[in-house]
Symmetry: C2
Subunit: 350 residues, 2 copies
């Protein structure tokens, strides 16, 4: 592994995206959200995106000059046209508008369409929770790779759900795909040459398998938690795609290659028991949960806790990256004429 | 089994609750919501509640004269004090206020506290969806019977979640406990003398078991879907209890015996793509899902479909009840001096 400080990865990403035509401020924000995924341990949504996003910019799918725009609004709602900008800009714009409106009207809902891949969904909900709001984000993915409960074949996307809640410290953070695992986790097992647990995917014939290669060979992921997870997968499709006017996983495949439909609800605890009382009560409940006895070999954790722990560790010690990935990033930086000082210091194995 | 027409069960429940002091209109509404649970196949929330609610009324836990009241409100939010009336009245009041406010302001949130058991949660969300609104209901249960992911012992309640979405026909309806199964399903297996699948509960020592008696003998239910279901169990505790000021499953046990904390979000699709466009798009997506190939021995169903199917069948053919339950209901009706014509016609086995 190569270990690179988070701020160096942000600088590198900023340089890559500016060299592809993005304004510096935009490029930096997109790079920051991507590195934040690495920091919180979600490497599948991390700097590997510098490679995929570069391809999508070159292919004309991400428009580096576009700015997401509110096209309709009321005091409590807004519709955001992402205009195929970086998905991160669209999601952040939508969340900013949702937070503003919830601060004024106690609750709000914002929908976004023509939206590219937004990366780690928890970035946006946690941002709102750090500002004292509860945020829910229902996202559909326009490309099918997950079956439905009782079904066969690829029907819908991994349709992630995130809910962040302000507590005394770092936010409570639910942030996951409604499939058993995210697509990226299967790809990472493949890269590392590992088998996967049976129950994650089916092969192209519907058979059980522990071979991660079977997914990209025509297999499919399963929804998590049987019919209960399947219900949430569909909620995200109905709110994320149908309510926003975004592409469904069931629509014919077409360009661009990776789209998200985004539906956000933000709400202000002050309208109920009050923010401070709410924070204290949440803390008391979560402390009570943490105090309960653990099963042998297990540890009771609060949603978000693994992320915030990994973040503290990686902020101090840097972000570990597979050598092969780092070398592809260095090659890309070289091709794009990025200043060598932004990657040369980290070119040794650690 | 004894088969009784739904309207006869409503009449019987109305008579039982009025004989206990409830006004006729209230008694009838509570009975209707309870029979609706039987009609949709959720017998654990059905007329067995005539027995438990009678005990709670006699014990002073349900106040048949109380009326739930909005104690704070804004254009988009409200806080409802249930005043320990029938939980059904509190939940319905909260949903009615949520729908009114969402119709005016596009989105709303309503919290309810001092709320008794509300019965089947999907009743209220489906009611809103039938009026063209999306409704989400996060409910905590004040009595612990479910452990947390990685934990041991009873920590939180079954914390049900319901999300209803208007479509072309009967609403899309997610409506479930965040435990693997509801408490009532284990009790029903016990009554029928059946074993349960391993993975539903643990016994009092934390061991795996297929014995339904192990639950009430100090065992506990597991959250559904591993850590992903656990996250939702906690969301319902934070929104249902902390945000509403209701009792948490972690609080010391005290009276009354069965409480719910209720948090509702209602939203109007008209503020986004428009209600008709939304309905059509939802229908198209759900039709697409139904068309997909099924696994051997399985059938792809839409959330709510089993409920609406059972409802149509039982509206025609009546509600089947175990003979032992029916005989306890008849005894109760006798004790309370309910008109014999309301139960005598159904006193034969079918």
């Amino acid at each position: 592994m190569i270990t690179v400080p988070a701020d160096a990865l942000v600088e590198l990403g900023t340089a890559i995206f500016t060299s592809l035509g993005a304004a510096r401020e935009k490029a930096r924000f997109v790079a920051e959200t991507i590195v934040e995924a690495n920091l919180t341990g979600h490497d599948s949504h991390g700097v590997v995106a510098y490679l995929t996003y570069t391809e999508r910019i070159k292919g004309g799918y991400i428009d580096v000059e576009a700015a997401p725009t509110v096209v309709e609004e009321t005091a409590t709602t807004a519709l955001v046209d992402g205009r195929w900008s970086f998905g991160q800009l669209t999601a952040m714009k939508a969340m900013e508008v949702a937070v503003e409106k919830a601060e004024r009207s106690h609750i709000s809902a914002v929908a976004a369409y023509r939206c590219n891949h937004i990366g780690r969904v928890g970035y946006y909900t946690a941002w709102a929770a750090e500002r004292g709001l509860v945020a829910l984000m229902f996202v559909n993915v326009g490309h099918p790779v997950v079956t439905v409960y009782g079904g066969r074949g690829r029907v819908l996307g991994t349709n992630p759900l995130s809910i962040a809640i302000p507590t005394g410290g770092e936010p409570f953070l639910l942030d996951y795909a409604t499939s058993v695992v995210a697509h990226g986790k299967v790809r990472q097992a493949l890269l590392k040459g590992r088998r996967i647990p049976r129950g994650w995917i089916r092969d192209k014939d519907g058979g059980e398998t522990d071979d991660p290669a079977a997914l990209d060979a025509g297999g499919w992921l399963l929804p998590f938690g049987g019919h209960k997870g399947y219900c949430l997968q569909l909620v995200n499709e109905l709110l994320g795609a149908a309510l926003t006017g975004s592409r469904s996983g069931l629509d014919p495949e077409e360009e661009p290659p990776s789209t998200n439909g985004v539906f956000i609800i933000a709400l202000d605890p002050d309208a109920f028991v009050g923010l401070e009382a709410f924070r204290e009560r949440c803390e008391a409940i979560l402390r009570g949960v943490k105090r309960c006895e653990a099963e042998a070999g297990m540890r009771v954790m609060i949603p978000g806790e693994p992320e915030w722990e990994t973040r503290r560790r990686r902020m101090r010690g840097g972000v570990p990256l597979p050598e092969a990935l780092w070398s592809r990033l260095v090659d890309l930086a070289g091709e794009l004429g990025v200043d060598e000082d932004l990657y040369r210091p980290w070119m040794r194995e650690t």
